[in-house]
Amino acid sequence: MTQHAGVVEPPLLDRAATAGAATSSGGRRLPRGRNATSLTPASGLGLGVALLWFSLLVLIPLTAVLIQASEGGWSAYWDALRSPQTLAALRLTVGQAILVTVVNVFTGTAIAWVLVRDHFPGKQVLEVVIDIPLALPTIVAGLVLLSLYGPSSPLGVNWANTPVAVFLAFLFVTLPFIVRTVQPVLLEIEPEVEEAAASLGATQFTIFRRVILPSLTPAIASGAALSFCRAISEYGSLVLLSGNLPYSTEVASVRILSYIEGDKLTEAAAVASILLIVALVVIVILDVISRRVARYG
């Protein structure tokens, strides 16, 4: 595999992206100069058409959200965000998203470890299983979780319409992110370094902490950022599962939807602007991480 223009193709997110529907900008480095030329008239026209479509589809609508949010001025913006029901929804969403991200840091790393270092029959199946949450339509994901954790659960639990349902739904939809960011990095770690550490008397735990973990940290951080971003924006899988009860299981996206249905577009846009800003921040974080990995990696 050849690397271009001295830029290391960071393993971050490459797999996650191909897996179905991951987010982020981390996986791509553009070549600096060597293969790139300046625009010709034809490519300039192409760029113009592409930018026009991109603006009509993405940039203008997203800008409209921010402008709509500022329609009533700062006081209206804050009032919309400070209404007790919205505040409760934001608190639940952010709280559960943080919790799920922390859980994913551990389970995601463990799953990636098993997929790379362990060998057993059926491992290929697990590779597909990891990506199912990304590929499954979110409404079906809700139905899927309901079948095991809902009223007719064979486990005898019923977590439908409780905050646990929100946690489960977030956990399900964010499963692949850390696995898919950590896995390629783990594959590239040379076993010689670990063997050297072991021959010098390091215990398994010390080897993991001092040798492996430092090189995994950027990947874990990107995966965590993606997990968090996906969790706070989740909607579809909660529709059937969480019941959307105000003050109890209502998340930010549902709040936006009920504002839209009540024709309160400014309030809807205010809550949406929070999610949009988090998405932008996550994209910037990922860009910074991948640049750093490219420099020192």
Partner: protein, 277 residues
């Protein structure tokens, strides 16, 4: 040494069991339960459900919206990938980061954003479009827009790394021998990216067929008019009666089947990145 070997294999087993158990509880078991629930009353009710006009309509609408979204994303994706990789222009880095934005934004925000611009009543552009005879929101064009929005980056993400890897030598050779831009693309570039393009298209298609939140807001979800397959699942599941629930499960099962098939296709046929080609 024997002790550490034993403890190593014990911890390996423990981790293996833990991971398999976690994935079984979170994914494998629940997914198989949905399949079982779908066929709980046998095959006949499932086939009956598939003959319902609402179901047929919903899948037809979903397929045609997904088709157009994928066509748009493929053309746009190939074009913008070539521009990002092969050319320099001011704002290239920003554009490179921004094309990923649609995957990071909540579907509900996507829906709201499109309504704010394209709604015939209050939208920035929607009013003029409606006067020109094109209704976007609460109509199929809105569904296509929402679907194209959420699946936009998937083709780009597949093609860009391949374009970077193949470099420009062959393309330059072709054009120095007198090939036109179009000939170079058709004879050199397209064959080199065809697998990546195929994966991108399969992933876009899977994502497009399953979109729910954004489509729900822009379409209104009226049965036999703007109700897609995912919206049908929601509506029927919330209605009472065995028949409705079988319809919901059948539609969900088909959507899940398509998603898993797409995954298997991508997993099996992707040239392995770890092994040198």
């Amino acid at each position: 040494m024997a002790d550490t070997a034993v403890s190593r294999s014990a911890s390996r087993w423990a981790l293996r069991v833990l991971v398999v158990g976690y994935l079984s509880l979170l994914v494998i078991w629940p997914v198989t339960l949905v399949a079982r629930e779908t066929f709980a009353h046998g095959l006949a009710p499932v086939i009956d459900a598939l003959r319902q006009p609402e179901v047929i309509f919903a899948f037809q609408l979903t397929l045609s919206a997904a088709f157009w979204a994928v066509v748009i994303n493929t053309i746009f994706g190939v074009g913008i990938s070539l521009l990002l990789v092969r050319y320099t222009f001011p704002g290239r880095r920003t554009l490179n980061a921004l094309v990923d934005l649609p995957l990071a934004v909540s579907p509900v925000v996507v829906g709201l954003a499109l309504v704010l611009v394209y709604s015939g009543r209050t939208g920035w552009l929607g009013g003029s479009l409606e006067q020109a005879g094109l209704q976007v929101i609460y109509a199929p064009p809105g569904i296509i827009l929402a679907t194209a929005f959420v699946s936009m980056p998937l083709v780009i993400r597949e093609i860009v790394p391949v374009l970077q890897e193949i470099g420009t030598e062959q393309e330059q050779a072709a054009s120095s021998l007198g090939a036109s831009g179009l000939q170079t693309f058709a004879r050199i570039t397209l064959p080199a990216i065809r697998w990546a393009l195929l994966y991108g298209v399969v992933l876009s298609l899977a994502r497009s067929l399953g979109e729910f939140g954004a489509v729900k807001i822009v379409s209104g979800g009226v049965a036999m008019r703007t109700q897609t397959a995912t919206l049908l699942v929601e509506e029927r599941y919330q209605q009472f009666g065995v028949e409705n629930s079988i319809i919901a499960y059948t539609a969900a099962f088909i959507l899940a089947l398509i998603a898993v098939l797409a995954l298997v296709v991508v997993t099996c046929f992707r040239p392995d990145k770890e092994t040198p080609r």
